[in-house]
């Protein structure tokens, strides 16, 4: 009994403050990451590098939000890209047609996304694995074809042309490349920090329980449907954020943003980077964009190269890069302790 009590005293204090410490640590890492990214323009005049980081921000937000569904909840959505497209189009249309300040359009777009995600999610999250995957895909195609056919409103297959107006707000001028770059970085870091908080909250552990064993979770009193719907909507919001960054970057929106290939790339990124760690999708994003950019420079058959890479990760490693690193590290630490 004394041994038990001793063990209890030992673990009680560190774990409790550990949770708080972890939060400070995450905020600290986020601040450092933002400082490093934001100071990049001071050291390099390379527009291509800054563009690369902006694209990483858009895709990184999208892919990490997809991992909230795939990795944390076990909901494999094949239609998550619809919210990326929805974000880009809603934001672009609001700015073009209403000319409101950018923060207002940003918030309004999130609200629109939440409404769509709630309706679509309410229909989808009841479905099991493959049915969930395919019905989300079906909704994606529905949104994509709506964009194509409603040409008077959305510009059809030409996309939203004529540029998105970017009025100055709070001294931030998003038509200035460096301003746009820093804003994208800020949105990425804030988005990641918020998603990290979701993943490490009590709700995040509810998601893990549902992923591992949804039936058991319901026998603990958890409303599985409601939890799934909640994470579906939350993930959609961050995907929509990614879409808005993309719309700002290209100053427009194109039907491809809402096409199923975006969802496919999201899944691909998660496979590349790994779904068992929070930053796996971020690593996957950088890898995919690097691959895309370098391979397309050397060959027009870049699809083949990407296919081979995907097969290597799926069949060879059977996990993403960061999964692999995390396992290797855990293994090394374990054997180190034994010695």
């Amino acid at each position: 009994m004394t041994e038990l009590e001793a063990g209890r005293a030992q673990t009680l204090v560190p774990v409790r403050s550990g949770a708080v410490l972890q939060r400070y640590r995450d905020v600290l890492i986020a601040l450092i990451a933002f400082a490093v990214l934001a100071s990049l323009p001071l050291f390099t005049g390379s527009k291509a590098l800054l563009d690369f980081v902006i694209r990483c921000s858009a895709y990184g937000l999208f892919a990490t939000s997809l991992n909230l569904l795939v990795g944390y909840t076990g909901l494999t959505s094949f239609g998550h890209g619809m919210f990326f497209g929805l974000g880009a189009y809603s934001f672009g249309l609001i700015m073009q047609k209403l000319g409101v300040p950018i923060p207002a359009a940003f918030v309004a777009t999130l609200a629109i996304t939440a409404v769509f995600a709630t309706i679509i999610g309410a229909i989808c999250v009841r479905l099991k694995e493959i049915y969930f995957a395919f019905v989300t895909l079906a909704f994606q195609m529905l949104i994509h074809s709506t964009i194509l056919s409603w040409a008077s409103f959305t510009g059809g297959d030409q996309g939203l042309r004529g540029g998105i107006p970017r009025p100055v707000f709070l001294g931030i001028d998003l038509s200035n490349h460096v301003h746009l770059y820093v804003t994208s970085c800020a949105l990425l870091i804030l988005g990641l920090l918020a998603m990290r908080q979701i993943a490490q909250s009590p709700f995040g552990y509810t998601l893990r329980m549902i992923r591992d064993n949804a039936a058991r979770a319901s026998f603990l009193g958890i409303d599985v449907w409601r939890a799934k719907l909640t994470v579906f909507v939350l993930a959609a919001l961050f995907a929509s954020m990614g879409g808005m960054v993309m719309a700002l970057f290209v100053s427009g929106a194109y039907p491809e943003f809402a096409y199923w290939t975006i969802s496919g790339e999201g899944i691909f990124i998660n496979m590349l980077g790994g779904v068992s760690t929070f930053l796996g999708p971020m690593v996957g994003t950088v890898l995919l964009l690097l691959l895309n950019d370098t391979v397309t420079r050397f060959t027009e058959y870049h699809g083949i190269v990407l296919g081979v890479v995907i097969l290597f990760f799926a069949l060879g490693l059977r996990k993403g890069l960061l999964d692999f690193v995390a396992e290797w590290y855990a293994h090394r630490r374990e054997t180190g302790e034994e010695r």
Partner: protein
């Protein structure tokens, strides 16, 4: 009454005319039973007797065709599993139903969080301090405290079963249903498990109902036994009454009842 006094004798769980059919098969056929507060009852019966169906009906995994499930006077028949759990009926499963990637400690803390209605909290970090004491208490009670940092998937079969029971127990249920707590265990491990169950029942003073195949175990520890056969109650009574009941001997025990059945 030969039942040991384990709290008040009012009825905690009352089953009235419970019925469920699958196609033409009556899996549960007009079952009525009383489980007094603080009682320990074994449910036995041949394979396909409807034991698990009976549990599934009580816990909401299946919806009964008719009948009532009264917990402390409140009818829960046909309600959803989360609702029934929140009213105070916890259950453990025949095949340990756990969260394979969570550690023992995380599992306990997350379960308490569910019970404390904080499982949807977004703005704080897991675990919440108020979940700790209860999680700690149940881990110690079941001897899982030393394995707190082990991932559930890496636990032994016996410990996984214990973790499953711990999951039910940590919700502080009024009634605990254990579906074959000793399933898949060796003879020695079985006794250790069943001693644990009995100990829990004595310490926690809750109403426990368990399904068990091993007749030695049932006759040794259960003050009251219910025999199910083809969805009906064949007999209820003390071990002695059941042992000498001719209908039970014909249907289930055979002439030499000792030893493991099924």
């Amino acid at each position: 009454m030969t039942l040991p006094d384990n709290g008040a004798r009012r009825t905690m769980l009352e089953i009235r005319n419970l019925a469920k059919s699958f196609g033409g098969v009556k899996a549960t056929n007009d079952v009525s039973l009383d489980f007094p507060d603080g009682s320990l009852t074994a449910v036995i019966g041949p394979n396909g007797a409807g034991k698990s169906t009976f549990f599934n009906l009580i816990t909401g995994a299946l919806k009964p065709d008719s009948g009532q499930v009264l917990l402390d006077g409140v009818d829960l028949a046909g309600r959803s599993p989360p609702e029934i759990v929140r009213h105070g009926i916890g259950r453990a499963f025949q095949v340990a139903s756990i969260f394979k990637s969570l550690t023992v400690e995380e599992t306990m803390l997350a379960a308490v969080s569910a019970d404390q209605r904080t499982s949807a909290v977004l703005h704080k970090r897991f675990p919440l301090p108020e979940a700790r004491d209860r999680a700690e208490h149940v881990m110690e009670l079941l001897g899982l405290a030393s394995k707190r940092h082990r991932t559930a998937a890496t636990l032994s079969h016996g410990d996984q079963k214990l973790l499953d029971i711990a999951l039910a127990l940590v919700l502080e249920p009024k009634v605990l249903l254990l579906d074959e707590p000793t399933a898949g265990m060796g003879p020695e491990e079985r006794w250790r498990m069943i001693d644990k169950v009995r100990e829990l029942w004595e310490i926690q003073k809750i109403t426990v109902v368990f399904i068990e195949h091993d007749m030695d175990i049932v006759f040794k520890i259960a003050p009251k036994i219910v025999v199910l056969c083809y969805g009906r109650i064949l007999a209820t009574g003390t071990p002695d009454e059941i042992r000498n009941n001719s209908a039970v001997i014909d249907a289930y025990l055979g002439t030499e009842h000792a030893g493991a059945a099924a």
